[in-house]
């Protein structure tokens, strides 16, 4: 039971907004010590796992080119481009992005978009531009909510698209798990049964985007 103290440490640490890197280290020690490991063993286990997971941080290699195009004015251009299409409002724009992200993820192309390479340089400025074109300059609160919604749309499109692709990590994990339990499963069945949820996710989030659009327009109506 004591090993659950580590989970409690994470919850409390995040809730009081302590620096998360410190929270994680503390939680690792609490968990390991409660499980009867020595401090050195905890540190070793943590260091080993950190080293094995370096691929997680390698994705920041896209930041230099994003910085270069921002320096040359991409965000401004993205904002101006969407303003030219007066008919495009933020709701339909993000719904279009949601569909794009879900469909490409379902084809296995999960890494062609993302927060660093598409949301920050293009999608968020375009979403802001779409709002601005209708309501004039944005206040801070609306700008932040629009940006957060752009990121949320990327996550939702990715999560509920990728599982339709048969060679994605989560499908392989399920196949492996079932195999070790004596059930042979063709990955195509798992990916096909991801489609109903994908459709519901699209409908739900698209409806929210329409409401979001309406609310923003109403709140900033003169």
């Amino acid at each position: 039971m004591l090993t659950l103290l580590g989970v409690a440490a994470v919850v409390v640490g995040f809730a009081v907004r302590l620096n998360p890197l410190l929270v994680v280290v503390i939680a690792a020690f609490v968990t390991g010590l409660a499980a009867g490991l020595s401090p050195v063993d905890v540190l070793k286990a943590f260091g080993k796992a950190f080293n094995e997971n370096r691929f997680v941080s390698a994705a920041y290699l896209v930041l230099p080119v994003i910085g270069v195009v921002e320096r040359a004015g991409l965000q401004e251009r993205a904002r101006a481009l969407i303003a030219k299409f007066r008919g495009v409002s933020v709701g339909p724009f993000l719904i279009g992005y949601l569909a794009f992200r879900q469909i490409t993820s379902a084809l296995g192309l999960t890494s062609i978009a993302g927060h660093a390479q598409s949301i920050r340089p293009m999608v968020a400025p375009m979403a802001e531009g779409a709002v601005e074109a209708r309501t004039g300059p944005l206040d801070d609160d609306t700008r932040q909510r629009t940006r957060a919604m752009a990121s949320a749309t990327d996550n939702i499109g990715l999560f509920f698209g990728e599982d339709i692709f048969i060679a994605i990590g989560s499908i392989l994990l399920m196949v492996g798990f079932l195999a070790s339990s004596g059930i042979t499963m063709d990955p195509i069945h798992l990916s096909l049964w991801a489609i109903p949820t994908a459709i519901v996710a699209f409908v739900l989030h698209a409806a929210r985007l329409v409401l979001f659009d309406r609310r923003i327009r109403r709140s900033s109506a003169p």
């Binding site: 890197l21 280290v25 260091g47 920041y60 290699l61 910085g67 195009v69 192309l109 996550n155």
Partner: protein
């Protein structure tokens, strides 16, 4: 065969450059904190495999200490002003999209064309890592395209990259740290313990209750662990397999697939899924660290209920 090691060397060199440029940045009052932080990340990429487990552990303590004691500042590399950017945006026009769109094109090319390539029976790219290798290749090509097409200074990729990296700050390392925490949790048997608690304390004689416990459990467990992959084996071994599939005769494909997607609803609601939820908030310079999570919860909760209903209707 090109392996992940090549990407690590590249990342190590880029972070080393961030460290040196940080140290030279007199506009950042905490420049040595930033320099030390990125130098540690660089060391991890370049020498992680020879540091040993304890060495890597000490390195992580160093990262956490720098971040935890507030020694990280935000570098201020000379960049273009908002007015200059508006002028540049007009001058370059739609050309500005080319480097950014080079990224997805090269990634898609890597995944669809390079990945299946073989030379003398050896695949060109390590098949397990083809996506990340493609992304690194795309990043390099796109930088070249950006420099030439937009005639930017040679140092700009490193300086502007450092600017964005400092914008993300310590949050950049959180996903990797959380993955390591997951390993410690697994070692201590945290997941199995929670799974056992759930199955011991909640009666599941009714099919609907069992479906609800499995779906909500997947989401709840993912919120605690930050990762649906950690929740899946525990919840499925505890409830999905013995009760939903064996006892009630549910279709394993439906149970597993929708179970995993219930976990993904949890991913949308937890700060522990840092790369999806906290890093974007930092990248978009949102003052509320949890702004992206707050934007996701109203979609995630009804979707979780929908998953529960779908599983109940489709699996039996």
């Amino acid at each position: 065969m090109i392996k992940l090691g090549a990407v690590y060397v590249l990342a190590g060199l880029v972070f080393a450059a961030f460290a040196v440029l940080s140290a030279l940045d007199r506009n950042n009052g905490k420049r040595f904190g930033n320099a030390a932080f990125w130098a540690l990340v660089s060391t991890s990429f370049l020498a992680g495999d020879i540091l040993g487990d304890l060495g890597n552990g000490v390195l992580v303590l160093g990262l956490a200490a720098i971040a935890g004691f507030g020694l990280l500042g935000r570098g201020q590399p000379a960049t273009t002003s908002p007015d200059e950017r508006r002028l540049l945006a007009e001058r370059f026009g739609e050309k500005l999209f080319v480097p950014a769109l080079t990224l997805p094109v090269v990634v898609a090319f890597g995944v669809l064309v390079l990945k299946p390539l073989e030379f003398g029976g050896q695949p060109l790219l390590d098949p397990k890592q083809a996506t990340l290798l493609s992304l690194a290749l795309a990043a390099v090509i796109a930088v070249g395209v950006g420099l030439i097409l937009l005639r930017q200074p040679v140092m700009s990729p490193l300086q502007e990259g450092r600017r964005l990296m400092d914008t993300v700050g310590w949050a950049a390392l959180l996903p990797q740290m959380l993955a390591a925490l997951g390993a410690v949790f697994a070692l201590a048997g945290v997941g199995d313990l929670i799974g056992q608690l759930v199955t011991d304390w909640i009666p599941m004689d009714a099919r609907l209750t069992a479906v609800a416990v499995y779906c909500l459990g997947m989401a709840g467990f993912t919120i605690i662990m930050g990762n649906a992959f950690a929740a899946f084996p525990v919840m499925t071994a505890g409830i999905g397999l013995p009760i939903l599939i064996k006892q009630f005769g549910g279709d394993p494909a439906v149970v597993c697939s929708i179970g995993m997607l219930s976990g993904f609803c949890g991913t949308l609601m937890t700060p522990l899924a840092a790369n999806f939820n906290l890093v974007p908030a930092a990248l978009l310079e949102l003052p509320d660290r949890y702004a992206v999570i707050k934007a996701q919860i109203p979609t995630a909760l009804p979707l979780l209920i929908a998953n529960l209903v779908l599983m109940y209707v489709l699996a039996f």
